[in-house]
């Protein structure tokens, strides 16, 4: 049986959620599963090349102590962008920018970090996702 594709829709642009998503993508890539990532809204914003390394804050549930924990974890090789680069290195990981969100922000592919492979519409993402479930983060 072919390994099921892991399809992740990244919506949230906070460092903890992006970090959790990067861990999932890396694990799937290590285990030989294709990974299909779709960036929408605030996650797409976090992948702008001039913002990828900046502090993106944490999810509301992190509370007051959580931000410091995440900041400590999301450093150097542990940063979600570094982990995604490693995931791409060891496996088949494709990262797509949502065409609608690109239009909303008025940005082009050149504004994004090279981690992003291309800009695609939702139907193309769904087509790639058909062999496995879709997870929204």
């Amino acid at each position: 049986m072919e390994d099921a594709t892991l399809s992740l829709v990244l919506f949230s642009g906070t460092d903890d959620r992006l970090g959790a998503a990067a861990i999932l993508a890396t694990g799937a890539a290590a285990m030989g599963r294709p990974v299909n990532v779709f960036l929408q809204y605030w996650a797409l914003d976090a992948f702008r090349k001039d913002r990828v390394g900046t502090d993106h804050g944490v999810a509301a549930e992190a509370g007051s102590g959580g931000a410091a924990l995440v900041k400590k974890d999301q450093a150097g090789d542990r940063h979600w962008s570094a982990l995604l680069r490693q995931a791409k290195d060891i496996g088949e990981v494709r990262i797509h920018a949502c065409a609608l969100s690109m239009e909303l922000f008025g940005i082009t592919k050149d504004d994004l970090d090279p981690l992003v492979d291309d800009v695609e519409g939702v139907a193309a993402f769904m087509s790639d996702a058909q062999t496995g479930p879709i997870t929204f983060i």
């Binding site: 861990i23 694990g27 285990m31 542990r78 490693q86 060891i90």
Partner: protein, 81 residues
């Protein structure tokens, strides 16, 4: 069996590295190595206990030994292909 009974091609001390760092180091070493190489990863990450055996099985290499130590473990893997 202890790791010293085996002839190691390479040993990687990944202690202190968080999940999935030790596994990624192992994958890198296996890819860079030759068939027959015996590679040891020393890890204190709790995730390695499950992840390294799962990856080795999936990638069809050989888990030669897992030796528990004080707060960490040695994972010895032979590259089979």
């Amino acid at each position: 069996m202890t790791p010293t009974d085996l002839t190691l091609t390479r040993s990687i001390d990944a202690r202190g590295m968080a999940c999935p760092g030790p596994l990624l180091n192992l994958i890198g070493a296996i890819r860079a190595g030759q068939v027959g190489d015996v590679i040891e990863v020393v890890s204190s990450d709790a995730g390695s206990r499950t992840d390294i055996p799962a990856w080795v099985a999936k990638a069809k290499h050989e888990l030669v030994a897992v030796v528990e130590d004080d707060g960490f473990a040695h994972f010895v893997v032979r590259k089979t292909h």
